[in-house]
Amino acid sequence: MNTQVSIAGVTFQNPVMTASGTFGSGMEYNAFVDLNRLGAVVTKGVASVPWAGNKTPRVAETYGGMLNAIGLQNPGIDLFIERDLAFLKQYRTRVIVNVCGRTVDEYVTVVERLADTSVDMLEINVSCPNVKEGAIAFGQDTKALSDITAAIKKKAKQPVIMKLSPNVTSISEMAKAAEAAGADAISLINTFTAMKIDIYRRRFALANRTGGLSGPAIKPIAVRMVYEASHAVSIPVIGMGGIANAEDAVEFMMAGATAVAVGAMNFHDPYTTVRVIEGIEAFMRDQKIDDVNSLIGCV
């Protein structure tokens, strides 16, 4: 039985990754799951310098999901390389670093700093709805997306995944723009801009007023977007949005994803990633599937 998948020349022992921002750099979840079991650890977004993030409350529960407006708090690339990458090097699991910035130059600075490291791939977050400058501004306009993709591709030593926002009119157009500008892969979806109001206190649930919706509530929309994007481009797609179990993961693969990522459900059950991996293996045995790649886009 083969569970290996490959994206832009990088092979993964299985198609299950962590979704950026929901797993730190793995240090905190190491107590629950063997990081060596994962297809890849995708780190929290890292910028050129430390970012303080937004005011609290930063998270709120919603039916079948949650809102977050962390605001990309991160330690900056220097400490990240020294501490987080050194930690991840102890494992054989692939490492994908999620990169954020306010300007193209800031993204490029991080990408250049990672050039001589052992990082396997870069995931460029152009879709965070929770910071004012940069981030989502690059992910909602085909021209801006293609410019930043091209600028990063020029400097990157590792394959580049562009992480797309669902807060757009046409996900296919965004996917095509990323591919045309040289992206090696795309990942989607990031969170939906959303709002929750505490009706008893007559206040926004989040200090930032709006936040990104994720979790099982968004899964059917995410599956549809992965389907549309994967049919618009020929580069591989990493699918995510509300994955809670192996059935969800298989659904994303059948929609066209080469790999999948588990996000908010890590908070509900810290063992989710490994349960999804074991569940995919059980599904393959049960359905007599020898190669996980045969699931990709099979509908």
Binding site: G21, T22, F23, G24, M27, E28, Y29, A31, F32, K44, P50, W51, A52, G53, T56, P57, R58, V59, A60, E61, Y63, G64, G65, M66, N68, I70, Q73, N74, P75, G76, L79, G215, P216, A244, A264, M265, N266, F267, H268, D269, P270, Y271
Partner: protein, 249 residues
């Protein structure tokens, strides 16, 4: 630290809307006063854990005392003996234990962790408790020190807040431990600074992971934090207990 399905040993309502639940779990044996557990509801649509302080522990058993604050805690209040309960913990850092005479100050749902703490502290204890109305846990706490009560409606003790009670009953303790709402903690911090004695505060914030990964639960700190090199400490991981001088409330 582990997530597991434990078993409810017993549960009772100890005051209006306040429940006391004993849970059978070996995780109890790892717990320190001031730590908390994440409790998960059985409704997967409510996917985030509810952080609840550890009120006290015995061999293989752990007690939580909580107020019905919404749908999740309402569900917990309906659990009976032998029902399964999904928990993760123990989480966070507890209170540093001092041998000096101590003042324990707590308000509302900040009171439960004071029981484990009162049991563990060896010095003399003055215990100041604030309630909206009907007190709870005050009898159990009185076994460990002098209890001073404040109630908002004046039904027992000093009418007003814990600070009003302290004004009426001068204290002699040399270290303060406090847990409760932010305005109370702010007042305790000021009081400790005026008295020039150390204070340990247990903070609360909305949480998603509960283990330090999501950066959802931060509070502003006076010094740079080790995780992100900004001034944000994670309440779930670096706390929930902080030195008063360490945090900006």
């Amino acid at each position: 630290m582990e997530k597991q399905t434990a078993t409810v040993l017993r549960q009772e309502c100890i005051a209006d809307g306040i429940y006391s639940m004993w849970i059978k779990t070996p995780l109890a044996n790892e717990a320190c006063p001031g730590q908390f557990i994440s409790v998960y509801t059985n409704n997967a649509a409510r996917l985030l854990p509810r952080p609840i302080s550890i009120c006290e522990t015995k061999q293989d058993c752990l007690r939580i005392v909580y107020r019905i604050a919404g749908k999740g805690t309402e569900e917990f209040s309906r659990y009976h003996a032998n029902d399964p309960v999904s928990i993760l913990g123990p989480l966070g850092n507890g209170f540093p234990l001092s041998g000096e005479d101590a003042v324990l100050i707590a308000g509302g749902i900040g009171i439960p962790p004071m029981l484990a703490l009162a049991k563990a502290l060896t010095g003399k204890k003055e215990i100041v408790l604030g309630y909206r109305s009907t007190p709870f846990l005050q009898d159990e706490l009185s076994a460990f020190g002098d209890v001073i009560l404040a109630t908002e409606d004046g039904c027992t003790g000093t009418r007003g807040t814990v600070m009003d009670a302290i004004a009426a009953h001068p204290l002699s303790g040399k270290v303060i431990y406090a847990c409760g709402p932010i305005p109370m903690l702010r007042a305790v911090k000021e009081y400790a600074a005026a008295q020039n004695i150390p204070a340990w505060l247990s903070l609360e914030e909305r949480m998603a992971c509960g283990v330090g990964a999501c950066l959802g639960c931060v509070c502003e700190s006076t010094e740079t934090d080790a995780h992100s090199l900004v001034n944000n400490k994670r309440i779930c991981k670096d706390g929930p207990v902080f030195a008063a001088s360490e945090v900006i409330l």
